[in-house]
Symmetry: D2
Subunit: 348 residues, 4 copies
């Protein structure tokens, strides 16, 4: 049984890891680290864990490096940069949930950081150089050997999984791809604020960061590395009164000669060996994947308009965050890719 | 004080009319007609109306034609076709909420009806010939003189108001316009079924009738009548766990030389005399319009991708249904277009 | 047209006042005062007010006392105590939403303040002495003459209206009355925090401050002043995933010889001249009153157990806050008690 | 591995069983039987089961009795009465979710049936005689030997678990106990109707069947069998806009000499060996138990009023239905009582 250490244990990312690792056959929870709630039992922070996890939340200074086989950093941008270095230098592999290690060069990182209005000097450039983008469906081989994996953004992973076959297989005839994204409120994290204020959100839909959302960079990077032509994404995120779930609708010109039947088959073949991607020919629902590590994708060609139309749904807290991270961890630790993750969605 | 007769008084469309007419300075509620709940007081059907409306629900056979200045038909497709004829033949103007009178020719109607899988022979062709599409922002003059007005579909009106300036002013460079539509659950009407089943809907988002929704026809008709070039719409409706509200995001190639500032100004000028359309430069929220007859629109040009990007929000039960109908009725009866409709949205 | 000044204009209490006064025939909005958002137009704070209210939020120091006929203080406990004094000393009547002026003596206030863990020295004792509890259904005469009215707590008003007839008319045989209260999330106000955090609240019900909620004091004071016997209330508040609305279920031993028919009649008679209280014999729903100033009450006697069982529903933001305050203001300004308040509930 | 047959597989009760048995170490799913959806794969009915369960829904006539070790009947009242007889006669133990086998005598059943307005002649009286009430916390020994178990109603189990220690240990001084119940919408089952109509329920709270809910009978039977004194329950159920979850608040006069500390200890001791009951001293939340087989209970004495006050929360679809049934099945099949049921609640 491998032992995991979780930094940022009291946020939704950390909680998601705890919930998955409690049922994981090969990875147990060794240490919980956070800034808030230090000294409290984790079930005092999350009462539903009573009887399931009795660990105490520790601070950074209490970390026992010799008792950790892998570390998850579910921390905000730049919060874990230097601490991660301490793990890597001790040979402990790390999966980071922020944008700190989603890029390969300090130059790319700088673009991302400036976009988000942050300080853009990377504090662990030697670690960055070996970072692998945590997309098991594309980089399983690299992840197996990686010391540091940058876990993708939740919107990014749903867009990438939806568009990757289209771009790699040459199904897209236009330069621009429109991604219209709908996310649940839990995507805004565990700190109360405007974005998760119940009286505002219980009956509201709105767009935000139209064309400028930070996940755009990693999606364009990934897709343009994957295909021959270069694509630009227009991404318009929207918040809907859902707690968990992301649904992406993506639109591009279809390459000549395609129809729904053909693209469905091509998508099915593309993801034939991906245990968590389901290619469907019915309308996807976020309830089809809620609480699971699945991504459900539908590909259609609209004959009237010649558009390729892709729908992709995930649970933003699982395949969009902690579930995908455990999938990466399984690969890094030599376990079955799906270990601990094959549970049916939670319904109704 | 004019007297209105409402057929289909016990559905959401009828209820919306009652709620508006209760505060209307120029139109009162004369008779309530429905198939269900005949003989019951309307406040027994809708308890929140207790003390505000004491009328009894009547059946068709009890209609007193001599006591009606205008009739609203909030009935399903084909349910009111022949009864409407009886009103028109007596000189009583009618506003119909179904698709029965949204077209000018039996040929167009036939296309629509076949699309919906219905019988396609129109039963009142002589009435159809004089029907006006109930879009006051474009057809105020025609509506003033109309005897029969076909009230637009809720998705249709939000798409049309969002796209009309773009098409008429030549801002769209592509043939195809993508409309990504999000609707609340009340759009499915007042009969319990799959589409409004709480355990399914409280935490679900899904697409449906992708590229084939029936409102598509009237939107293409309207827009292609309005501009020089012919456009095709790819419309993908989605249900989100919202009760009231529609948010449309529309995407097309922007004509050369445009930017967000310019298109915003053009939209503002276009709607300068439309009392219910607000052109904004912030992200629209459905809460900005809930419970009101407003349509809030934002127009942007995304420089990176060259796309024209339009957001349009309405309350599907007001501007998308009963509010728009009263706006038409005001014009038909020679009242101020905004009479009874200028109330702030309901928030929070 | 009287002019109102609103202190605390950017919270839910202030917003509720604005929404009501916008349609009020006798009271207009003169000045908006707040700590936050000073210098912004109110429609920038609440976008749904665009086109309806163009006033700028001012700070205390900008108040023009000579242009105010009445002042509403929708401010937290103790925040308005001394400023209210400035209004009273200038002869401007005040309605206060906090607990500062809900009591007649500094001794009673001290008990309340200590209960809430606050400083308990009252800063305007000379004003307190003349304060009237803002319950128009009981104190209309006193409110008409009052200079300072303490607007009741939202839970308090629903409990008092539900229990007042029972206690005054001697229908309660037991000393103790159990009040089980369910409230929507908007009751926690406009600042984001645990109590209105969407991911926690969208699918949760819980009890809190069991037997110790601060509204208890005013309810016991009021009821024990009203009847011959002294009652104790066990009040258990609960939060449910509702935005607006309070539903109270109250239980006590029924006095001998009562049945549901009799108590219903007695309640009806008791409230015969109260325009906003509806005594019903069907199950009350919060949707019966949402968005309105109504209180719907049902009184039953359970023959099997001999219990008197009362249900009372209000909209916590209207009859539980701003609507009740305007009702008081109408009385204080010599207007019709119901002016501006007779609008149907918002449904669905 | 034992094989289970599920009758009524396409309702929420059947679905809950499938979801639990998919992860159960000792009981697998053998056959799925229903009236609706016969011939369809279960994942076509419930898309989230895709890849997890490939069984086809069968009709009664296709049942293979020789391949079933236990049968679950998640069917409406009286729908399974005679079919259950066929299982019992073949020696196959049955757990029934309806009220058909919750009583020991045809006389008691008759009272229950008349209360619900149903035909009151029991069709399998010889089976009824051996029926055991499915409350493992009280009747584990009897359930182990039972051939037919009547699974309790969801409201009933939350009331009984909350009140059982109080009644058995003599903590209640009054004859009457008030139970104020709040339930989520999924309790109304899987058929769309008024009770689960989204536009009505998303923002509504209401009481219903006040003092006359059918679960009352089994609660009084059980409690009065358990203690020396006879108690009457006044039960007032309420629907809140929650999908899953029940929260009961119960009130009675406390016996002399009790305080919160004492009753908490007595409750803890009472449930010391019950793996799914948690006695807590914090405010219970339905989120503490959502998706789990837990019942969380808090017992308090309110010193001011002398009332004993109990809060009890469960997930109505798990401990209130399928989870409790599997707990009974474990006992009947000689497995560990908690097998397949020890999963943490689903949060957030």
């Amino acid at each position: 049984m491998k032992k995991a250490l979780i930094v940022g244990a009291t946020g939704f990312g950390g909680l998601g890891l705890i919930e998955i690792l409690l049922r994981h056959p090969g990875i147990g929870i060794g240490q919980l680290v956070a800034r808030k709630d230090v000294g409290r039992k984790i079930y005092q922070v999350f009462p539903h864990l009573t009887g399931f996890c009795g660990l105490t939340v520790q601070e950074n200074s209490e970390i026992n490096y010799s008792d950790a086989d892998i570390a998850f950093f579910s921390t905000p941008d730049r919060a874990g940069m230097t601490l991660i270095r301490d793990f890597i230098s001790r040979g402990i592999p790390v999966i980071d949930f922020s944008g700190d290690f989603r890029f390969h060069s300090t130059k790319d990182y700088s673009v991302y950081a400036k976009n988000k209005g942050m300080e853009d000097t990377h504090l662990a450039p030697e670690v960055l150089a070996g970072a692998v983008y945590g997309l098991p469906e594309l980089y399983a081989g690299e992840i197996k050997k990686a010391r540091i994996v940058g876990n993708p953004g939740c919107f990014a992973i749903s867009m990438i999984l939806g568009l990757l076959p289209a771009v790699q297989l040459g199904l897209v005839a236009s330069e621009v791809i429109v991604c219209d994204g709908k996310t649940g409120v839990s995507g805004a994290g565990k700190n109360p604020g405007e974005a998760n204020f119940y009286p505002q959100r219980y009956e509201d839909v709105n767009t935000y960061r139209e064309g400028t959302h930070q996940h755009l960079v990693e999606v364009e990077n990934l897709l343009n590395g994957a295909g021959d032509t270069k694509h630009k994404i227009l991404f318009v995120p929207q918040i809907v009164p859902l707690n968990r779930g992301i649904l992406i609708t993506a639109y591009a010109d279809a390459a000549p000669g395609l129809d729904t039947k053909k693209v469905t088959e091509m998508y099915r073949e593309f993801y034939a060996s991906s245990p968590f991607v389901i290619v469907t020919d019915k309308s996807p629902h976020t309830t089809d994947v809620r609480g699971s590590n699945r991504c459900e994708i539908r590909a259609m060609v609209d004959g009237r308009t010649g558009k390729l139309f892709i729908t992709s749904v995930i649970d933003n807290l699982v395949k969009g965050q902690s579930g995908n991270a455990v999938q990466c961890a399984n690969l890094m630790l030599g376990l079955d890719e799906a270990a601990g993750l094959m549970v049916p969605p939670f319904y109704p």
